[in-house]
Symmetry: C2
Subunit: 150 residues, 2 copies
DNA sequence: GAAGATTGAGCTCTCAATCTTT
DNA sequence: AAAGATTGAGAGCTCAATCTTC
């Protein structure tokens, strides 16, 4: 029996993502950080004034509670700092330290090169088609509802 | 500037996988298990004589050390059991208990239905093309090597 | 020595509950 | 009451080290 295409697609998505994550961890590890921490660096590098932890959590699509520990470790490493928001005393403004920006500046081109290597055997058209399918799949998954009435 | 297609693809893969995992956890949770535990159930359902923990780890593409705790929790829940291998005293034969098989038999069709719902807007051709790209990407990622000489 | 399984440390993540500020 | 951040419990994952058996 030929495998159900839907099942096949989902299995392939998860398998590819796992492999990508696993290898990226191996890449980042010698530099002392993790993939999640690199994502934070990357996000903050584009927002010099800083982001609130809530904004960070939304952008990373993770729970806010997760951001706390992630930033604790990064602050300890000296890459980010929490500042008080001038107008709302509930929020922290999170931004890169000079060391954090330096690390990102050094790592980013290397990471781009790894991405280029991993995807070098695909045509641009194939990658765009794949990405389009995946965004649609993500939307379909996120919109899935437990079978309970509205 | 148009986003680099390779970067776009990788971002889409991880985003889709995250969404898929997150939603599947919501599906499994009311039944008392996790997505990882369902995968074990699914694997064991196809191998009545049982699998070694090493085989389980290879099939799930996770570290062997991870399998230990996963099975501890599932054994505690009464879904799997460890038996001594008759010929090699180093290995455990892991198999489903009647309760584990019953759970899988009940859950599997429901899960297939969720998959069908999530993928209902895709053509079979689109899904097969996407899956093919993803398997190739997985292979490329797994084969990636740190830039060190042989 | 190599292989199967386990343990301990550390990271990421979720969920539920709490605290402070709005 | 609602929103931002934190804490504690629990799951999944990796890596390095250890124990037993081959």
């Amino acid at each position: 029996m030929p495998t159900d295409p839907g099942f096949e697609l989902i299995t392939a998505v998860v398998a590819a993502s796992d492999a990508l994550l696993r290898e990226s961890q191996k890449f980042f590890r010698p530099h002392g950080l993790t993939a999640a921490q690199y994502n934070v660096l990357n996000l903050l590098s584009g927002s010099p004034p800083g982001l609130s932890q809530r904004e960070l959590g939304d952008a990373l699509v993770v729970d806010r509670s997760n951001v706390t520990g992630l930033l604790d470790r990064m602050e300890k490493a000296g890459w980010v700092k929490r500042s008080n928001d001038p107008v709302d005393r509930r929020v922290y403004r999170v931004s890169l330290t000079p060391a954090g920006r330096k690390l990102w500046t050094r790592l980013h081109p290397l990471y781009l090169e790894v991405v280029a290597q991993v995807t070098r055997n695909f045509s641009a058209a194939e990658m765009r088609a794949g990405a389009a399918t995946l965004w649609a799949l993500e939307a379909a998954a996120s919109g899935w509802q437990l079978p309970v009435g509205p």
